[in-house]
């Protein structure tokens, strides 16, 4: 049976949430910003280069975009300095994005492999 005791009806939040937020030096922000600008520039640049196959161009563009997104999430959104639980939450969001892309490409990239039933 569940008993009641005279514990005050407070909730047991952990106190780490109220700890002082990590202070990021302005220098870091500026460096990240410059890196993002550089990324933009090479994305534009790379679009003028023919890497042979069009999908190679896509891979290069996506790789740059991914690195930029990672910088934004880690530094601007403070995930690098957040609790493990926050990192887990952000990480699972990305994991599910990967699932979405993975299986969509499991369709697009395999359209020719096994033919179409009935034809």
């Amino acid at each position: 049976m569940t008993e009641t005791a005279a514990v005050p009806a407070e909730n047991h939040d952990s106190h780490e949430d109220h700890a002082h937020p990590h202070v990021v030096p302005v220098r870091t922000y500026i460096l990240v910003f410059l890196a993002l600008m550089f990324g933009t520039a090479i994305t534009v640049g790379a679009s003028y280069v023919d890497f042979g196959h069009s999908y190679l161009n896509n891979i290069v563009a996506l790789a740059i975009a991914f690195s930029k997104a990672a910088l934004v999430v880690l530094f601007f959104m403070h995930v690098k300095y957040s609790s493990k639980l926050t990192q887990l939450a952000v990480g699972s969001g990305f994991a599910f994005l990967v699932i979405l892309f993975f299986f969509v490409f499991a369709d697009y990239l395999t359209r020719g492999w096994l033919g179409t039933p009935g034809s």
């Binding site: 514990v7 047991h12 299986f103 499991a106």
Partner: protein, 561 residues
């Protein structure tokens, strides 16, 4: 120690009926005390009223569909009107009734109480979620008044973006908005369950209802943004002619189906998982037994939430998706049936040698086990690629998902509403009428949907308002069943409303069930508990009568982490 077992009953240390005392209903008065409330219990009531209205609106559209299908000729409505009827039926039932149903009503009301908290973690966000839901519903109602939509609840492109002349954008915006209400509810539940459990309430002591809602919330948070973006893309393509899905503009219509089903298959689990949570509570309460395989049921909810995200392509076997992807999705779909089956087996095993009693909530629960099993197994038929080429877009599919969504989710919802009605309102409903209604719902349901399996297998496609003469007998059966079902749903409306005024006053624990919600008065006070409860044992620690070897009040033998 023996006497402690008795304290779950209404007498003794535990307060009983709270209607004459202060409770969450009489604590404040006036319409604004409801519309601006942050009490999770009052918000649950707001949701209860609105989704009930939506349920009957969706039911009215379904009545139109079934009436048209009574005769082979398309004589009652023309095909455009018919397309609107089934589309509006689907949209209302899925997005405005079934997705909010159990989480927003029973989950809102019970989760804080079940974990020994005063409220959800973010009470104001909880209220906001209801207003967002109402705003979404308002957009949809405007779309309805302007003539409705006829794309199907699935909004498939390129029809929805390039051809339809109906209110696609208005309806889509309504769904988009209501999605955020679902996200906020999920967020609130996750934070609450992580942060606000009573002392002693470890993860593996939580009621399975709470586990099921935790898993549901994960899907709501991870999936709903995708459908929101997808719907936005439809609107953008319609308005700005941006080539996303329309091949004429350089888009790919199958991309829409990927994005849509990435959310909408998991969304079917948003609809059924909370029902599974209700089931575990009902089955244990009316067998008076520990649930069989607690950990398996708890973990299978999470497994369903995760694996459910890997199977969406089973809706697309004949869409032009690659055969290879189809094979992968088919295999994964067979996997997702395993955790569902685990639950069914565990509930059945819980019944074994239990002291089963047949109160009306239990009748719904037993109905659920059978109907969900049929729905799940026919899902496996459809997940077999070869068979699905024959059955895709036939009435077999319609029957499959109604067995799960109506026979499963709505049965669980009705069972749960009956089970917790005394707690929510402080009143008992007339058990005799509840049993009559439960039997009629079961009969009406099967008469409506079983013939659809047959007629679908014989080749009747879904979404047409006319059909060959030889299908008429089965369709008339289905329409007759739907009429019975409609009446059967009205009966609880009547006696539940009646009970509010004239029902017998409910004790704290009318069923002799376990769980923190049964230790407080019915209806509860605004802050639920007078003292912070401390949990000292696992969920469902029913003293089994044939087992006298241990002290029922003693803590469980193994300590769970």
């Amino acid at each position: 120690m023996q006497t402690e077992v008795v304290t779950t009953k209404s007498e003794g240390a535990v307060p009983g009926n709270g209607l004459d005392r202060e409770n969450y209903i009489n604590a404040k008065h006036g319409i604004w005390s409801w519309l601006l409330t942050t009490d999770h219990k009052r918000i649950a009531i707001l949701y209860l009223i609105t989704i009930t209205l939506m349920f009957f609106l969706g039911g009215a559209f379904a009545a139109g569909v079934r009436l048209e299908l009574m005769t082979p000729k398309g004589d009652l409505v023309d095909s455009d009107a018919y397309n609107k009827l089934f589309t509006m039926h689907g949209i209302v039932m899925v997005f405005f009734f079934l997705i909010p149903s159990i989480p927003a009503v029973l989950g809102n009301f019970l989760i804080p109480i079940m974990i020994g908290a005063k409220d959800l973690a973010f009470p104001k966000i909880n209220l906001l979620s209801w207003y967002i839901y109402m705003a979404g519903a308002a957009f949809f109602m405007v779309a309805t008044l302007f003539g409705g939509v006829e794309t199907g609840w699935t909004f498939y492109t390129p029809y929805s973006t390039a051809f339809s002349h109906t209110n696609v954008i208005l309806a889509a915006v309504g769904i988009f908005i209501s999605g955020f209400s679902s996200i906020l509810t999920g967020l609130n539940f996750i934070v609450t369950i992580h942060k606000m459990r009573a002392p002693g309430l470890t993860w593996f002591r939580m009621p399975l209802f709470v586990w099921a809602h935790y898993a549901t919330s994960l899907i709501q948070i991870l999936g709903t943004p995708v459908v929101a973006v997808t719907i936005l893309m439809v609107a953008v393509e319609r308005l700005l002619k941006l080539g996303l899905f329309d091949p004429a503009l350089g888009g790919d219509p199958i991309l829409f189906q990927h994005l849509f089903w990435f959310y909408s298959h998991p969304a079917v689990y948003i609809m059924i998982l909370p029902g599974m949570g209700v089931m575990s509570e009902l089955i244990t309460a009316f067998t008076r037994k520990r649930v069989f395989g607690y950990e398996f049921i708890a973990i299978s909810s999470l497994a369903i939430a995760v694996v459910g995200f890997l199977v969406w392509g089973h809706h697309m076997f004949v869409s032009g998706q690659s055969t290879y992807a189809g094979m992968v999705f088919s295999a994964l779909s067979f996997l997702v049936a395993i955790p569902s089956a685990v639950k069914v087996f565990n509930w059945s095993a819980t019944l074994y040698k239990g002291s089963v009693s047949w109160e009306s909530p239990m009748m719904y629960a037993i109905g659920f086990i059978g109907l969900f099993t049929i729905g799940g197994l026919t899902g496996l038929f459809l997940a077999a690629m070869g068979l699905d080429i024959h059955m895709h877009d036939t009435y077999f599919v319609v029957a499959h998902f109604h067995y799960i969504m109506v026979g499963g989710a709505i049965f669980a919802y009705l069972g749960g509403i009956h089970f917790w009605w005394p707690k929510i309102t402080g009143r008992m409903y007339p058990e005799y009428w509840a049993r009559v209604a439960a039997v009629l719902v079961f009969a009406g349901f099967n008469l409506t949907f079983f013939p659809q399996f047959v007629v679908g297998y014989l080749g009747m496609p879904r979404r047409y308002h006319a059909y060959p003469d030889e299908f008429q007998v089965l369709n008339v059966m289905s329409t007759a069943g739907a009429s019975l079902l409609g009446i059967a749903y009205l009966i609880p409306m009547l006696y539940l409303t009646w009970s509010l005024f004239a029902g017998k006053k409910a004790p704290a624990n009318p069923w002799g069930a376990k769980g923190l919600e049964w230790t407080i008065q019915s209806p509860p006070t605004t802050f639920n508990f007078d003292h912070q409860p401390v949990v000292t044992e696992e969920a469902y620690a029913y003293a089994e009568s044939h087992d006298t070897s241990h002290d029922p009040a003693a803590p469980p033998a193994q300590a769970h982490a």
